[in-house]
Amino acid sequence: MKTVVEAKNISFKYDVVPVLEDANLTVYEGDFMGIVGPNGSAKSTLIKLLLGLLKPQQGEIYLMDKSLQNFKEWHSIGYISQKVKGFNNSFPATVEEIVAANLYKEMGVFKFIRAKHREKIDEVLDIVGMTDYKKRLIGSLSGGQQQRIFIARTLISNPQIIFMDEPLVGVDLESEERFYRLMEKLNKDLGITLIMVSHDIGVITERTNRVACVGKRQVFVHDSKTFNNEEYIKSVYGDKIKLLHHRH
């Protein structure tokens, strides 16, 4: 299996507080990896480190076999941040304009949208099922619909890996189901490696093939099929925590 993301012995501190110490992570091509962990356990930090948005004090990170310092193929990496939902809802931009923004590198010096770009926009909007909304203002869509637009925006640059930070926060159940069906399509049909931070351990283990648990300043990777919820809770919170089952 080809390794597409690798973090070797990384340590990271916010000022003096260490959040990761000597942590390792390997992601293989075609993985759908969930990243879980308690609040403040450095899930988002880990993603930002992997993307070079934060620099580790120690250790090395490789994307597609290249160390981050030498990595240039950013068009093949997609990132949907938590912040994406915080945009100004009255921003006067159509879905088409938002999606086209990610073609920046491909548009040449004068940044004209050509026929081939328009085709590409239609194609990605079709994948996320939002073709009819092309001319709509982004702020007029629901949270779930906006999220699909941001996925389309990422898809337009033909990414091989997509990183997502809590994409399901504030999304209703129906949209969540639709989101996972879309992820399956991207992962299985288009062969895109997906890495996604989530706080919903129950759902994420059902949908992904591997789960990385971040806790105690370390990263532990499990196969989703053999992932044991109770063991996970013990390992990251300690023995004193008991799981309470909700019986109704």
């Binding site: 990132y79 921003f91 938002i98 925006r153």
Partner: protein, 281 residues
């Protein structure tokens, strides 16, 4: 030819005014969307210090204003890094410095009437040299916006994503703030230092009410800017008023007009849907 255009000073005022009407809202739309509305005011106060310095030192005031406001623009960028969590503080510091410096330089000189024309704009005093400088600088600014438009759009919407998709965010932010400084120096001759930032912001405010895409928002902003300048200059000529005031109040008038038309069309639609639901019953 209408009488107003037979005067050569009015021809000059219109040429310069139209250039200003093209660049102010084009820069303004990014200023508004990035929530930087105060930056125009700040840099224009520093430009005033530049004008006063130019008059004292015998330098063409547009050039000295340009140098002062570009330096101030870079200062704002630098201070913004120092006070990361207090973005508006960098603006306040530069604004205070600008006003302080302007007050001292003006009191040192003896050219209050000339300063006045830069503060409130002037049509009678626009020289051929002014027009030439305005046209050349405006073309540079317009071409820059056309080339940077996609990047600025992406940065305004989502700076982090823009950076990942290859937009040179840092470089573009610095260039953008220099463009703002340039626009102020270009526009102050006609609109006046105190009102430049209004012409950057008010037409955009009106266009945001009706635009259904970014391109439309830009287009309407420029159209409203052009209308404001044409109406404002005409009023200024016939009523003998300072053009800065008439131009900006025309822009405000257009904004109010947009609100009224919107209100009317909303009440008509509501009425229709009320009538049609009545018919169904």
């Amino acid at each position: 030819m209408p009488e107003i255009l037979t005067y050569s000073f009015m021809q000059r005022a219109f040429i310069a005014g139209i250039m200003v009407a093209l660049i102010c809202p084009s820069i303004g739309i990014f200023i508004v969307l990035r929530r930087l509305s105060m930056i125009g005011d700040t840099l224009s106060h520093v430009a005033l210090a530049g004008v006063a310095a130019g008059m004292l030192g015998g330098v063409y005031p547009v050039y000295s204003a340009l140098v002062f406001s570009v330096v101030a623009a870079l200062g704002v960028e630098q201070l913004r890094k120092t006070y990361k969590d207090y973005a508006e503080l960098s603006i306040a510091i530069v604004l205070s410095t600008g006003i302080g410096l302007a007050t001292i330089l003006i009191s040192m000189g003896n050219a209050n009437a000339a300063i006045f024309s830069y503060l409130f704009g002037s049509i009678a005093l626009v020289s051929s040299k002014d027009v030439l400088v305005v046209v050349i600088l405006s073309i540079i600014i317009l071409v820059s916006i056309l080339l940077l438009y996609r990047g600025l759009f992406y940065i305004s919407f989502d700076e982090e994503a823009a950076s990942l998709s290859g937009v040179p965010v840092k470089w573009m932010n610095i260039y953008f703030i220099i463009l703002i400084a340039g626009t102020i120096s270009v526009a102050m001759r006609i609109v006046g230092i105190l009102l430049v930032s209004s012409l950057m912001v008010v037409p955009v405010a009106a266009s945001l009410q009706i635009a259904k895409s970014f391109k439309a928002a830009w287009f309407y902003s420029v159209i409203f800017g052009l209308l404001s300048v044409i109406i404002g200059l005409t009023l200024s000529f016939y009523a003998d008023l300072a053009p800065g005031g008439t131009i900006v109040l025309s822009a405000v008038g257009i904004l109010v007009g947009v609100f009224i038309v919107q209100g009317l069309s909303r009440s008509i639609t509501n009425n229709r849907s009320y009538e049609s639901s009545w018919e169904k019953i």
